[in-house]
Subunit: 326 residues, 2 copies
Protein backbone atom coordinates (compact mmCIF):
# COMPACT_ATOMS: atom_id res chain seq x y z
CA UNK A 1 0.00 0.00 0.00
CA UNK A 2 1.23 3.48 -0.82
CA UNK A 3 2.56 5.46 2.16
CA UNK A 4 0.37 8.38 1.14
CA UNK A 5 -2.90 6.46 1.09
CA UNK A 6 -3.78 6.25 4.80
CA UNK A 7 -2.82 9.84 5.74
CA UNK A 8 -4.70 10.99 2.61
CA UNK A 9 -7.84 9.11 3.65
CA UNK A 10 -7.40 10.55 7.15
CA UNK A 11 -7.67 13.99 5.56
CA UNK A 12 -4.13 15.17 6.21
CA UNK A 13 -3.57 18.20 4.01
CA UNK A 14 0.13 17.54 3.59
CA UNK A 15 -0.57 14.04 2.27
CA UNK A 16 -3.15 15.47 -0.14
CA UNK A 17 -0.68 18.09 -1.38
CA UNK A 18 2.00 15.48 -1.92
CA UNK A 19 -0.44 13.15 -3.71
CA UNK A 20 -1.44 15.98 -6.06
CA UNK A 21 2.22 16.73 -6.76
CA UNK A 22 2.57 13.05 -7.60
CA UNK A 23 -0.29 13.04 -10.13
CA UNK A 24 1.08 16.26 -11.65
CA UNK A 25 4.44 14.64 -12.34
CA UNK A 26 5.22 13.26 -15.78
CA UNK A 27 8.09 11.06 -14.55
CA UNK A 28 7.43 7.43 -15.54
CA UNK A 29 7.89 6.02 -12.01
CA UNK A 30 5.64 8.76 -10.59
CA UNK A 31 2.99 7.97 -13.21
CA UNK A 32 2.98 4.27 -12.24
CA UNK A 33 2.72 5.15 -8.57
CA UNK A 34 -0.04 7.70 -9.23
CA UNK A 35 -2.11 5.20 -11.24
CA UNK A 36 -1.82 2.64 -8.45
CA UNK A 37 -2.68 5.22 -5.80
CA UNK A 38 -5.77 6.39 -7.68
CA UNK A 39 -6.89 2.77 -8.14
CA UNK A 40 -6.57 2.19 -4.37
CA UNK A 41 -8.68 5.19 -3.31
CA UNK A 42 -11.89 4.54 -1.40
CA UNK A 43 -15.13 5.38 -3.22
CA UNK A 44 -16.06 8.66 -1.56
CA UNK A 45 -18.05 11.24 -3.48
CA UNK A 46 -17.91 15.03 -3.35
CA UNK A 47 -20.17 17.38 -5.25
CA UNK A 48 -18.10 18.54 -8.22
CA UNK A 49 -18.98 22.09 -9.21
CA UNK A 50 -17.47 23.71 -12.31
CA UNK A 51 -17.20 27.50 -12.23
CA UNK A 52 -16.42 29.53 -15.32
CA UNK A 53 -16.14 33.26 -15.79
CA UNK A 54 -13.95 35.68 -17.70
CA UNK A 55 -11.38 37.75 -15.78
CA UNK A 56 -12.97 40.73 -14.05
CA UNK A 57 -16.27 39.15 -13.06
CA UNK A 58 -14.98 38.66 -9.51
CA UNK A 59 -14.42 34.92 -9.60
CA UNK A 60 -11.86 34.84 -6.78
CA UNK A 61 -14.01 36.98 -4.53
CA UNK A 62 -17.00 34.79 -5.30
CA UNK A 63 -15.12 31.57 -4.51
CA UNK A 64 -13.80 33.14 -1.30
CA UNK A 65 -17.30 34.13 -0.16
CA UNK A 66 -19.13 31.06 -1.45
CA UNK A 67 -16.48 28.66 -0.15
CA UNK A 68 -16.46 30.33 3.28
CA UNK A 69 -20.26 30.07 3.47
CA UNK A 70 -20.07 26.34 2.73
CA UNK A 71 -17.41 25.76 5.40
CA UNK A 72 -19.62 27.61 7.90
CA UNK A 73 -22.27 24.99 7.14
CA UNK A 74 -19.75 22.32 8.14
CA UNK A 75 -18.74 21.35 4.61
CA UNK A 76 -15.14 20.77 3.59
CA UNK A 77 -14.31 22.61 0.35
CA UNK A 78 -11.52 22.04 -2.15
CA UNK A 79 -10.74 24.59 -4.89
CA UNK A 80 -8.90 23.59 -8.06
CA UNK A 81 -8.09 25.66 -11.11
CA UNK A 82 -8.07 24.50 -14.72
CA UNK A 83 -6.13 26.75 -17.01
CA UNK A 84 -4.08 25.22 -19.80
CA UNK A 85 -2.13 28.40 -20.44
CA UNK A 86 0.51 29.40 -17.96
CA UNK A 87 -0.25 33.08 -18.48
CA UNK A 88 -3.07 33.83 -16.12
CA UNK A 89 -4.57 37.27 -16.05
CA UNK A 90 -5.50 39.85 -13.48
CA UNK A 91 -5.22 39.24 -9.78
CA UNK A 92 -4.12 35.67 -10.24
CA UNK A 93 -0.60 36.84 -10.98
CA UNK A 94 -0.32 36.99 -7.22
CA UNK A 95 -1.10 33.29 -7.01
CA UNK A 96 -4.30 31.44 -6.21
CA UNK A 97 -3.76 31.45 -2.45
CA UNK A 98 -3.23 35.19 -2.35
CA UNK A 99 -6.38 35.69 -4.41
CA UNK A 100 -8.40 33.82 -1.79
CA UNK A 101 -6.65 34.82 1.38
CA UNK A 102 -9.40 34.06 3.87
CA UNK A 103 -10.31 30.70 2.37
CA UNK A 104 -6.67 29.65 2.13
CA UNK A 105 -6.28 30.01 5.90
CA UNK A 106 -9.54 28.15 6.57
CA UNK A 107 -8.86 24.65 7.98
CA UNK A 108 -12.04 23.36 6.31
CA UNK A 109 -10.81 24.49 2.88
CA UNK A 110 -8.05 23.36 0.57
CA UNK A 111 -6.83 25.48 -2.35
CA UNK A 112 -4.52 24.02 -4.93
CA UNK A 113 -2.71 26.61 -7.06
CA UNK A 114 -2.48 26.06 -10.82
CA UNK A 115 0.74 24.39 -11.91
CA UNK A 116 2.86 26.94 -13.73
CA UNK A 117 2.58 25.37 -17.15
CA UNK A 118 0.75 22.45 -18.66
CA UNK A 119 -0.95 21.32 -21.83
CA UNK A 120 -4.70 20.83 -22.12
CA UNK A 121 -4.43 17.03 -22.17
CA UNK A 122 -2.16 16.99 -19.12
CA UNK A 123 -4.43 19.43 -17.31
CA UNK A 124 -7.40 17.15 -17.89
CA UNK A 125 -5.71 14.12 -16.37
CA UNK A 126 -4.22 16.09 -13.49
CA UNK A 127 -7.56 17.68 -12.64
CA UNK A 128 -9.55 14.47 -12.87
CA UNK A 129 -7.08 12.68 -10.64
CA UNK A 130 -6.88 15.60 -8.21
CA UNK A 131 -10.67 15.60 -7.88
CA UNK A 132 -10.52 11.92 -6.95
CA UNK A 133 -7.80 12.64 -4.38
CA UNK A 134 -9.87 15.43 -2.81
CA UNK A 135 -12.91 13.16 -2.65
CA UNK A 136 -10.86 10.42 -0.97
CA UNK A 137 -9.51 12.99 1.48
CA UNK A 138 -13.07 13.65 2.62
CA UNK A 139 -13.89 16.95 0.92
CA UNK A 140 -17.62 17.46 0.40
CA UNK A 141 -17.50 20.03 -2.37
CA UNK A 142 -14.85 20.38 -5.08
CA UNK A 143 -14.96 23.69 -6.92
CA UNK A 144 -13.21 23.56 -10.29
CA UNK A 145 -12.51 27.03 -11.56
CA UNK A 146 -11.74 27.93 -15.17
CA UNK A 147 -11.32 31.14 -17.12
CA UNK A 148 -14.17 31.65 -19.54
CA UNK A 149 -12.22 31.11 -22.74
CA UNK A 150 -11.26 28.32 -25.08
CA UNK A 151 -11.64 24.61 -24.61
CA UNK A 152 -11.17 24.50 -20.86
CA UNK A 153 -14.93 24.95 -20.26
CA UNK A 154 -15.78 21.80 -22.18
CA UNK A 155 -13.07 19.98 -20.31
CA UNK A 156 -14.39 21.12 -16.93
CA UNK A 157 -18.00 20.39 -17.87
CA UNK A 158 -16.90 16.83 -18.66
CA UNK A 159 -15.68 16.30 -15.10
CA UNK A 160 -18.35 18.13 -13.09
CA UNK A 161 -21.76 17.31 -11.66
CA UNK A 162 -22.86 20.91 -12.09
CA UNK A 163 -21.59 23.76 -14.25
CA UNK A 164 -21.92 27.38 -13.14
CA UNK A 165 -21.20 30.48 -15.18
CA UNK A 166 -20.32 33.69 -13.31
CA UNK A 167 -21.00 36.96 -15.12
CA UNK A 168 -20.73 40.66 -14.43
CA UNK A 169 -23.72 43.00 -14.73
CA UNK A 170 -23.87 44.37 -18.28
CA UNK A 171 -25.57 47.53 -19.48
CA UNK A 172 -28.23 47.28 -22.16
CA UNK A 173 -29.38 44.09 -23.76
CA UNK A 174 -26.10 42.82 -25.12
CA UNK A 175 -25.12 39.46 -23.74
CA UNK A 176 -21.44 40.12 -22.96
CA UNK A 177 -20.25 38.06 -25.87
CA UNK A 178 -20.63 34.85 -23.90
CA UNK A 179 -20.19 32.03 -26.34
CA UNK A 180 -23.36 30.11 -27.02
CA UNK A 181 -21.53 26.86 -26.36
CA UNK A 182 -20.60 27.95 -22.84
CA UNK A 183 -24.14 29.20 -22.17
CA UNK A 184 -25.47 25.80 -23.23
CA UNK A 185 -23.21 24.05 -20.75
CA UNK A 186 -24.31 26.19 -17.81
CA UNK A 187 -26.78 24.80 -15.29
CA UNK A 188 -26.76 28.05 -13.38
CA UNK A 189 -25.79 31.56 -14.44
CA UNK A 190 -24.83 33.79 -11.53
CA UNK A 191 -24.69 37.53 -12.18
CA UNK A 192 -22.18 38.84 -9.66
CA UNK A 193 -21.80 42.37 -8.22
CA UNK A 194 -25.55 42.60 -7.57
CA UNK A 195 -24.96 45.27 -4.94
CA UNK A 196 -24.80 49.08 -4.59
CA UNK A 197 -24.90 51.04 -7.82
CA UNK A 198 -24.83 47.91 -9.95
CA UNK A 199 -27.86 46.24 -8.34
CA UNK A 200 -30.39 47.42 -10.92
CA UNK A 201 -28.08 46.57 -13.81
CA UNK A 202 -27.42 43.15 -12.33
CA UNK A 203 -31.14 42.44 -12.05
CA UNK A 204 -31.67 43.49 -15.65
CA UNK A 205 -28.77 41.27 -16.72
CA UNK A 206 -30.36 38.35 -14.87
CA UNK A 207 -33.62 38.97 -16.76
CA UNK A 208 -31.74 39.15 -20.08
CA UNK A 209 -30.00 35.85 -19.45
CA UNK A 210 -33.12 34.18 -18.12
CA UNK A 211 -34.71 35.07 -21.46
CA UNK A 212 -31.73 33.79 -23.41
CA UNK A 213 -31.65 30.55 -21.42
CA UNK A 214 -35.30 29.89 -22.24
CA UNK A 215 -34.36 29.92 -25.92
CA UNK A 216 -31.70 27.29 -25.43
CA UNK A 217 -32.50 23.66 -25.87
CA UNK A 218 -33.60 21.87 -22.71
CA UNK A 219 -31.48 18.92 -21.74
CA UNK A 220 -32.94 15.68 -20.35
CA UNK A 221 -30.84 16.02 -17.19
CA UNK A 222 -32.55 19.34 -16.34
CA UNK A 223 -35.76 19.71 -14.39
CA UNK A 224 -38.29 22.08 -15.97
CA UNK A 225 -37.03 25.34 -14.48
CA UNK A 226 -33.32 24.84 -15.21
CA UNK A 227 -30.98 26.30 -16.39
CA UNK A 228 -31.57 29.38 -14.20
CA UNK A 229 -30.06 32.85 -13.85
CA UNK A 230 -29.67 34.45 -10.40
CA UNK A 231 -28.15 37.63 -8.98
CA UNK A 232 -25.41 37.29 -6.37
CA UNK A 233 -23.00 39.56 -4.57
CA UNK A 234 -19.68 38.13 -3.48
CA UNK A 235 -19.08 41.34 -1.51
CA UNK A 236 -22.30 41.51 0.54
CA UNK A 237 -22.97 37.76 0.36
CA UNK A 238 -26.48 38.38 -0.98
CA UNK A 239 -27.86 35.52 -3.03
CA UNK A 240 -25.11 33.04 -2.15
CA UNK A 241 -27.42 30.93 0.03
CA UNK A 242 -30.05 30.98 -2.70
CA UNK A 243 -27.46 29.91 -5.30
CA UNK A 244 -26.37 27.02 -3.07
CA UNK A 245 -30.00 26.00 -2.49
CA UNK A 246 -30.59 25.92 -6.25
CA UNK A 247 -27.48 23.80 -6.77
CA UNK A 248 -28.64 21.35 -4.13
CA UNK A 249 -32.13 21.21 -5.62
CA UNK A 250 -30.74 20.47 -9.08
CA UNK A 251 -28.42 17.76 -7.78
CA UNK A 252 -31.21 16.19 -5.72
CA UNK A 253 -33.37 16.09 -8.85
CA UNK A 254 -30.58 14.53 -10.87
CA UNK A 255 -29.88 11.95 -8.19
CA UNK A 256 -33.56 10.97 -8.01
CA UNK A 257 -33.92 10.79 -11.78
CA UNK A 258 -30.74 8.72 -12.20
CA UNK A 259 -29.02 11.39 -14.32
CA UNK A 260 -26.38 12.02 -11.65
CA UNK A 261 -25.12 8.44 -11.73
CA UNK A 262 -25.47 7.98 -15.48
CA UNK A 263 -23.54 11.20 -16.12
CA UNK A 264 -20.73 10.12 -13.80
CA UNK A 265 -20.62 6.73 -15.50
CA UNK A 266 -20.42 8.35 -18.95
CA UNK A 267 -17.68 10.72 -17.71
CA UNK A 268 -15.64 7.80 -16.36
CA UNK A 269 -15.99 5.92 -19.65
CA UNK A 270 -14.92 9.05 -21.55
CA UNK A 271 -11.89 9.44 -19.26
CA UNK A 272 -10.96 5.78 -19.84
CA UNK A 273 -10.97 6.32 -23.62
CA UNK A 274 -8.95 9.53 -23.30
CA UNK A 275 -6.34 7.76 -21.13
CA UNK A 276 -6.17 4.92 -23.60
CA UNK A 277 -5.55 7.21 -26.57
CA UNK A 278 -3.01 9.22 -24.59
CA UNK A 279 -1.26 6.01 -23.58
CA UNK A 280 -0.96 4.84 -27.18
CA UNK A 281 0.35 8.19 -28.40
CA UNK A 282 2.76 8.41 -25.46
CA UNK A 283 4.90 5.82 -27.22
CA UNK A 284 5.93 8.57 -29.62
CA UNK A 285 7.42 10.61 -26.77
CA UNK A 286 10.06 8.03 -25.88
CA UNK A 287 13.56 9.31 -26.70
CA UNK A 288 14.56 6.43 -28.99
CA UNK A 289 11.24 6.68 -30.84
CA UNK A 290 11.64 10.43 -31.27
CA UNK A 291 15.09 9.91 -32.70
CA UNK A 292 13.81 7.34 -35.18
CA UNK A 293 10.89 9.62 -36.10
CA UNK A 294 13.28 12.47 -36.76
CA UNK A 295 15.41 10.22 -39.00
CA UNK A 296 12.40 9.00 -40.98
CA UNK A 297 10.98 12.53 -41.07
CA UNK A 298 14.18 13.74 -42.71
CA UNK A 299 13.93 10.99 -45.32
CA UNK A 300 10.31 11.98 -45.99
CA UNK A 301 11.21 15.67 -46.25
CA UNK A 302 14.00 14.81 -48.68
CA UNK A 303 11.57 12.83 -50.84
CA UNK A 304 13.37 9.52 -50.22
CA UNK A 305 10.31 7.98 -48.59
CA UNK A 306 6.57 8.60 -48.79
CA UNK A 307 4.84 9.78 -45.60
CA UNK A 308 2.68 6.65 -45.58
CA UNK A 309 5.65 4.39 -46.16
CA UNK A 310 7.62 6.00 -43.35
CA UNK A 311 4.63 5.75 -41.01
CA UNK A 312 4.23 2.10 -41.93
CA UNK A 313 7.90 1.42 -41.20
CA UNK A 314 7.75 3.28 -37.88
CA UNK A 315 4.63 1.35 -36.84
CA UNK A 316 6.46 -1.88 -37.69
CA UNK A 317 9.28 -0.85 -35.39
CA UNK A 318 6.76 -0.16 -32.66
CA UNK A 319 5.54 -3.73 -33.06
CA UNK A 320 2.38 -2.70 -34.81
CA UNK A 321 2.84 -4.34 -38.19
CA UNK A 322 -0.78 -4.36 -39.05
CA UNK A 323 -1.92 -1.21 -37.30
CA UNK A 324 -1.86 1.05 -40.33
CA UNK A 325 -3.88 -1.45 -42.30
CA UNK A 326 -6.39 -2.18 -39.59
CA UNK B 1 4.23 -4.17 -59.33
CA UNK B 2 0.63 -3.11 -58.95
CA UNK B 3 -1.48 -3.62 -62.10
CA UNK B 4 -2.74 -0.05 -61.80
CA UNK B 5 0.71 1.55 -61.74
CA UNK B 6 1.68 1.52 -65.42
CA UNK B 7 -1.73 2.56 -66.84
CA UNK B 8 -1.84 5.25 -64.16
CA UNK B 9 1.57 6.60 -65.18
CA UNK B 10 0.44 6.43 -68.81
CA UNK B 11 -2.33 8.82 -67.85
CA UNK B 12 -5.27 6.47 -68.34
CA UNK B 13 -8.27 8.07 -66.65
CA UNK B 14 -9.85 4.75 -65.78
CA UNK B 15 -6.71 3.63 -63.93
CA UNK B 16 -6.60 6.95 -62.07
CA UNK B 17 -10.26 6.60 -61.06
CA UNK B 18 -9.69 3.06 -59.84
CA UNK B 19 -6.57 4.08 -57.92
CA UNK B 20 -8.50 6.87 -56.18
CA UNK B 21 -11.26 4.42 -55.28
CA UNK B 22 -8.52 2.24 -53.80
CA UNK B 23 -7.10 5.02 -51.58
CA UNK B 24 -10.63 5.93 -50.50
CA UNK B 25 -11.27 2.42 -49.24
CA UNK B 26 -10.87 1.62 -45.56
CA UNK B 27 -10.62 -2.14 -46.12
CA UNK B 28 -7.36 -3.46 -44.60
CA UNK B 29 -6.16 -5.20 -47.77
CA UNK B 30 -6.99 -2.11 -49.84
CA UNK B 31 -5.06 0.07 -47.39
CA UNK B 32 -1.96 -2.12 -47.72
CA UNK B 33 -2.23 -2.07 -51.51
CA UNK B 34 -2.79 1.72 -51.54
CA UNK B 35 0.26 2.38 -49.34
CA UNK B 36 2.42 0.24 -51.64
CA UNK B 37 1.02 1.90 -54.76
CA UNK B 38 1.66 5.42 -53.40
CA UNK B 39 5.21 4.40 -52.47
CA UNK B 40 5.84 3.15 -56.01
CA UNK B 41 4.66 6.34 -57.76
CA UNK B 42 7.20 8.28 -59.84
CA UNK B 43 8.19 11.68 -58.52
CA UNK B 44 6.19 13.96 -60.79
CA UNK B 45 5.05 17.36 -59.53
CA UNK B 46 1.89 19.29 -60.29
CA UNK B 47 1.09 22.76 -59.05
CA UNK B 48 -1.28 22.24 -56.13
CA UNK B 49 -3.77 25.10 -55.84
CA UNK B 50 -6.20 25.32 -52.95
CA UNK B 51 -9.44 27.15 -53.63
CA UNK B 52 -11.81 28.20 -50.88
CA UNK B 53 -15.05 30.08 -51.04
CA UNK B 54 -18.45 29.98 -49.36
CA UNK B 55 -21.44 28.70 -51.34
CA UNK B 56 -22.83 31.32 -53.69
CA UNK B 57 -19.57 32.97 -54.74
CA UNK B 58 -19.59 31.01 -57.99
CA UNK B 59 -16.88 28.51 -57.21
CA UNK B 60 -18.02 25.87 -59.71
CA UNK B 61 -18.37 28.42 -62.49
CA UNK B 62 -14.92 29.78 -61.65
CA UNK B 63 -13.31 26.33 -61.70
CA UNK B 64 -15.08 25.56 -64.98
CA UNK B 65 -13.79 28.77 -66.61
CA UNK B 66 -10.34 28.79 -65.01
CA UNK B 67 -9.78 25.08 -65.62
CA UNK B 68 -10.87 25.36 -69.25
CA UNK B 69 -8.47 28.29 -69.78
CA UNK B 70 -5.60 26.21 -68.40
CA UNK B 71 -6.41 23.26 -70.66
CA UNK B 72 -6.46 25.64 -73.65
CA UNK B 73 -2.87 26.49 -72.71
CA UNK B 74 -2.04 22.78 -72.98
CA UNK B 75 -2.12 22.05 -69.25
CA UNK B 76 -3.79 18.98 -67.80
CA UNK B 77 -6.03 19.90 -64.87
CA UNK B 78 -7.38 17.74 -62.03
CA UNK B 79 -10.13 18.99 -59.71
CA UNK B 80 -10.64 17.50 -56.25
CA UNK B 81 -13.05 18.54 -53.52
CA UNK B 82 -12.41 18.53 -49.79
CA UNK B 83 -15.56 18.56 -47.75
CA UNK B 84 -15.74 16.53 -44.56
CA UNK B 85 -19.50 16.80 -44.30
CA UNK B 86 -21.62 14.79 -46.66
CA UNK B 87 -24.22 17.51 -46.84
CA UNK B 88 -23.02 19.81 -49.58
CA UNK B 89 -24.95 22.92 -50.39
CA UNK B 90 -26.34 24.62 -53.43
CA UNK B 91 -25.68 23.40 -56.94
CA UNK B 92 -23.42 20.65 -55.76
CA UNK B 93 -26.44 18.54 -54.88
CA UNK B 94 -26.42 17.72 -58.56
CA UNK B 95 -22.92 16.29 -58.21
CA UNK B 96 -19.52 17.75 -58.98
CA UNK B 97 -19.50 16.65 -62.60
CA UNK B 98 -22.85 18.25 -63.29
CA UNK B 99 -21.63 21.46 -61.67
CA UNK B 100 -18.73 21.61 -64.11
CA UNK B 101 -20.28 20.16 -67.21
CA UNK B 102 -17.87 21.56 -69.79
CA UNK B 103 -14.74 20.70 -67.83
CA UNK B 104 -15.98 17.21 -67.04
CA UNK B 105 -16.17 16.43 -70.78
CA UNK B 106 -12.74 17.95 -71.46
CA UNK B 107 -10.15 15.21 -72.17
CA UNK B 108 -7.44 17.39 -70.61
CA UNK B 109 -9.34 17.61 -67.31
CA UNK B 110 -10.20 15.15 -64.58
CA UNK B 111 -12.87 15.85 -61.97
CA UNK B 112 -13.23 13.62 -58.95
CA UNK B 113 -16.54 13.95 -57.13
CA UNK B 114 -16.53 14.13 -53.34
CA UNK B 115 -17.09 10.77 -51.67
CA UNK B 116 -20.54 10.71 -50.13
CA UNK B 117 -19.39 10.70 -46.53
CA UNK B 118 -16.09 10.84 -44.71
CA UNK B 119 -14.48 12.18 -41.57
CA UNK B 120 -11.98 15.02 -41.58
CA UNK B 121 -9.02 12.72 -40.86
CA UNK B 122 -10.02 10.32 -43.59
CA UNK B 123 -10.58 13.19 -46.03
CA UNK B 124 -7.07 14.46 -45.34
CA UNK B 125 -5.42 11.15 -46.17
CA UNK B 126 -7.64 10.51 -49.20
CA UNK B 127 -6.97 13.96 -50.62
CA UNK B 128 -3.21 13.86 -50.04
CA UNK B 129 -2.98 10.46 -51.69
CA UNK B 130 -5.28 11.48 -54.53
CA UNK B 131 -3.09 14.52 -55.22
CA UNK B 132 -0.08 12.20 -55.51
CA UNK B 133 -2.01 9.93 -57.88
CA UNK B 134 -2.99 12.89 -60.09
CA UNK B 135 0.62 14.06 -60.16
CA UNK B 136 1.83 10.59 -61.13
CA UNK B 137 -0.83 10.47 -63.86
CA UNK B 138 0.76 13.54 -65.42
CA UNK B 139 -1.61 16.32 -64.41
CA UNK B 140 0.05 19.74 -64.36
CA UNK B 141 -2.35 21.54 -62.06
CA UNK B 142 -4.37 20.05 -59.20
CA UNK B 143 -7.17 22.30 -57.97
CA UNK B 144 -8.34 21.39 -54.47
CA UNK B 145 -11.69 22.96 -53.76
CA UNK B 146 -13.15 23.48 -50.29
CA UNK B 147 -16.19 25.24 -48.88
CA UNK B 148 -15.16 28.26 -46.86
CA UNK B 149 -16.11 26.94 -43.45
CA UNK B 150 -14.58 25.03 -40.59
CA UNK B 151 -11.31 23.23 -40.44
CA UNK B 152 -11.17 22.12 -44.05
CA UNK B 153 -9.33 25.31 -45.09
CA UNK B 154 -6.44 24.62 -42.75
CA UNK B 155 -6.35 21.08 -44.01
CA UNK B 156 -6.25 22.19 -47.66
CA UNK B 157 -3.65 24.89 -46.96
CA UNK B 158 -1.45 22.16 -45.47
CA UNK B 159 -1.42 20.27 -48.76
CA UNK B 160 -1.21 23.09 -51.29
CA UNK B 161 1.50 25.17 -52.90
CA UNK B 162 -0.82 28.12 -53.21
CA UNK B 163 -4.07 29.04 -51.45
CA UNK B 164 -6.75 31.10 -53.19
CA UNK B 165 -9.86 32.58 -51.66
CA UNK B 166 -12.82 33.31 -53.94
CA UNK B 167 -15.26 35.98 -52.80
CA UNK B 168 -18.39 37.67 -54.07
CA UNK B 169 -18.63 41.45 -54.47
CA UNK B 170 -19.93 42.96 -51.23
CA UNK B 171 -21.66 46.29 -50.76
CA UNK B 172 -20.13 48.81 -48.37
CA UNK B 173 -17.00 48.25 -46.37
CA UNK B 174 -17.98 45.12 -44.50
CA UNK B 175 -15.68 42.22 -45.16
CA UNK B 176 -18.28 39.44 -45.67
CA UNK B 177 -17.52 37.83 -42.35
CA UNK B 178 -14.49 36.06 -43.78
CA UNK B 179 -12.63 34.60 -40.86
CA UNK B 180 -9.31 36.26 -40.20
CA UNK B 181 -7.63 32.85 -40.10
CA UNK B 182 -8.76 32.07 -43.63
CA UNK B 183 -7.71 35.53 -44.85
CA UNK B 184 -4.27 34.93 -43.39
CA UNK B 185 -3.91 31.67 -45.29
CA UNK B 186 -4.81 33.23 -48.63
CA UNK B 187 -2.05 34.03 -51.12
CA UNK B 188 -4.55 35.47 -53.54
CA UNK B 189 -8.06 36.80 -53.01
CA UNK B 190 -10.18 36.73 -56.13
CA UNK B 191 -13.38 38.77 -56.14
CA UNK B 192 -15.66 37.01 -58.58
CA UNK B 193 -18.64 38.39 -60.56
CA UNK B 194 -16.66 41.47 -61.60
CA UNK B 195 -18.95 42.00 -64.57
CA UNK B 196 -22.11 43.87 -65.55
CA UNK B 197 -23.94 45.61 -62.74
CA UNK B 198 -21.60 44.23 -60.09
CA UNK B 199 -18.37 45.49 -61.69
CA UNK B 200 -18.10 48.67 -59.60
CA UNK B 201 -18.98 46.82 -56.39
CA UNK B 202 -16.42 44.14 -57.20
CA UNK B 203 -13.69 46.74 -57.74
CA UNK B 204 -14.56 48.40 -54.44
CA UNK B 205 -14.50 45.00 -52.72
CA UNK B 206 -11.04 44.35 -54.19
CA UNK B 207 -9.85 47.67 -52.78
CA UNK B 208 -11.34 46.83 -49.36
CA UNK B 209 -9.59 43.49 -49.25
CA UNK B 210 -6.34 44.88 -50.58
CA UNK B 211 -6.44 47.25 -47.60
CA UNK B 212 -7.23 44.47 -45.17
CA UNK B 213 -4.48 42.27 -46.59
CA UNK B 214 -1.93 45.04 -46.04
CA UNK B 215 -2.78 44.94 -42.34
CA UNK B 216 -2.12 41.23 -42.12
CA UNK B 217 1.27 39.95 -41.16
CA UNK B 218 3.61 39.31 -44.05
CA UNK B 219 4.90 35.78 -44.29
CA UNK B 220 8.46 34.91 -45.24
CA UNK B 221 7.27 32.85 -48.18
CA UNK B 222 5.62 35.91 -49.73
CA UNK B 223 7.30 38.38 -52.05
CA UNK B 224 6.68 42.02 -51.14
CA UNK B 225 3.43 42.53 -53.04
CA UNK B 226 1.66 39.37 -51.87
CA UNK B 227 -0.97 38.49 -50.71
CA UNK B 228 -2.98 40.26 -53.44
CA UNK B 229 -6.64 40.89 -54.22
CA UNK B 230 -7.86 40.83 -57.83
CA UNK B 231 -11.22 41.10 -59.63
CA UNK B 232 -12.28 38.21 -61.86
CA UNK B 233 -15.36 37.16 -63.78
CA UNK B 234 -15.97 33.49 -64.27
CA UNK B 235 -18.78 34.41 -66.68
CA UNK B 236 -16.90 36.76 -69.05
CA UNK B 237 -13.48 35.29 -68.31
CA UNK B 238 -12.10 38.75 -67.44
CA UNK B 239 -9.15 38.64 -65.08
CA UNK B 240 -8.63 34.88 -65.24
CA UNK B 241 -5.41 35.21 -67.26
CA UNK B 242 -4.17 37.88 -64.85
CA UNK B 243 -4.98 35.63 -61.87
CA UNK B 244 -3.06 32.75 -63.45
CA UNK B 245 -0.11 35.05 -64.21
CA UNK B 246 -0.04 36.15 -60.55
CA UNK B 247 -0.14 32.55 -59.39
CA UNK B 248 2.76 31.67 -61.67
CA UNK B 249 4.75 34.70 -60.53
CA UNK B 250 4.26 33.77 -56.86
CA UNK B 251 5.26 30.16 -57.45
CA UNK B 252 8.31 31.20 -59.48
CA UNK B 253 9.36 33.48 -56.61
CA UNK B 254 8.87 30.68 -54.08
CA UNK B 255 10.80 28.22 -56.21
CA UNK B 256 13.70 30.64 -56.57
CA UNK B 257 13.72 31.50 -52.86
CA UNK B 258 13.59 27.86 -51.81
CA UNK B 259 10.24 28.29 -50.02
CA UNK B 260 8.46 26.02 -52.46
CA UNK B 261 10.65 23.03 -51.65
CA UNK B 262 10.90 23.73 -47.93
CA UNK B 263 7.11 24.03 -47.65
CA UNK B 264 6.60 20.75 -49.48
CA UNK B 265 9.17 19.08 -47.22
CA UNK B 266 7.44 20.41 -44.08
CA UNK B 267 4.06 19.27 -45.43
CA UNK B 268 5.39 15.77 -46.07
CA UNK B 269 6.85 15.59 -42.56
CA UNK B 270 3.53 16.76 -41.10
CA UNK B 271 1.70 14.10 -43.12
CA UNK B 272 4.10 11.42 -41.85
CA UNK B 273 3.35 12.38 -38.23
CA UNK B 274 -0.40 12.42 -38.89
CA UNK B 275 -0.25 8.94 -40.49
CA UNK B 276 1.78 7.66 -37.58
CA UNK B 277 -0.70 8.91 -34.97
CA UNK B 278 -3.62 7.60 -37.02
CA UNK B 279 -1.89 4.23 -37.33
CA UNK B 280 -1.40 3.94 -33.57
CA UNK B 281 -4.98 4.89 -32.81
CA UNK B 282 -6.28 2.55 -35.54
CA UNK B 283 -5.49 -0.33 -33.17
CA UNK B 284 -8.55 0.72 -31.20
CA UNK B 285 -10.81 0.14 -34.22
CA UNK B 286 -10.10 -3.59 -34.43
CA UNK B 287 -13.22 -5.63 -33.56
CA UNK B 288 -11.63 -7.65 -30.74
CA UNK B 289 -10.12 -4.47 -29.24
CA UNK B 290 -13.46 -2.69 -29.43
CA UNK B 291 -15.12 -5.59 -27.65
CA UNK B 292 -12.50 -5.52 -24.88
CA UNK B 293 -12.79 -1.71 -24.60
CA UNK B 294 -16.56 -2.02 -24.23
CA UNK B 295 -16.13 -4.62 -21.48
CA UNK B 296 -13.60 -2.49 -19.58
CA UNK B 297 -15.70 0.61 -20.23
CA UNK B 298 -18.67 -1.07 -18.54
CA UNK B 299 -16.51 -1.93 -15.53
CA UNK B 300 -15.33 1.68 -15.35
CA UNK B 301 -18.88 3.03 -15.66
CA UNK B 302 -19.99 0.67 -12.89
CA UNK B 303 -17.20 1.94 -10.63
CA UNK B 304 -15.45 -1.45 -10.52
CA UNK B 305 -12.30 -0.08 -12.12
CA UNK B 306 -10.70 3.36 -12.36
CA UNK B 307 -10.39 4.89 -15.84
CA UNK B 308 -6.60 4.95 -15.50
CA UNK B 309 -6.48 1.36 -14.28
CA UNK B 310 -8.66 0.17 -17.15
CA UNK B 311 -6.54 2.11 -19.66
CA UNK B 312 -3.41 0.59 -18.19
CA UNK B 313 -4.86 -2.91 -18.48
CA UNK B 314 -5.98 -2.31 -22.06
CA UNK B 315 -2.55 -0.99 -23.02
CA UNK B 316 -1.02 -4.13 -21.50
CA UNK B 317 -3.25 -6.26 -23.69
CA UNK B 318 -2.14 -4.26 -26.69
CA UNK B 319 1.42 -5.15 -25.79
CA UNK B 320 2.25 -1.71 -24.53
CA UNK B 321 3.02 -2.44 -20.92
CA UNK B 322 5.05 0.67 -20.40
CA UNK B 323 3.22 3.04 -22.69
CA UNK B 324 1.06 4.71 -20.06
CA UNK B 325 4.09 5.31 -17.88
CA UNK B 326 6.30 6.57 -20.66
Amino acid sequence: MDDLLQPLIDGQRRALSRAITLVESTRPDHRIRATALIAALPDRQALRIGLSGTPGVGKSTFIEAFGTMLTEQGLRVAVLAVDPSSARSGGSILGDKTRMEMLSRNPMAFIRPTPSSAQLGGVARRTRETIRLCEAAGYDVVLIETVGVGQSETLVAEMCDLFTLLLAPAGGDELQGVKRGIMEMADLILVNKADGDLLATARRTVADYAGALRLLRKRPQDPGDFPKALPVSAVTGDGLDKAWAEMQALIAWRRDSGHFDSTRAAQARHWFHAELRAGLLAQLDQPHVRAEMARLGDAVAAGQMTPGGAASQMLDRLGRTSALAE
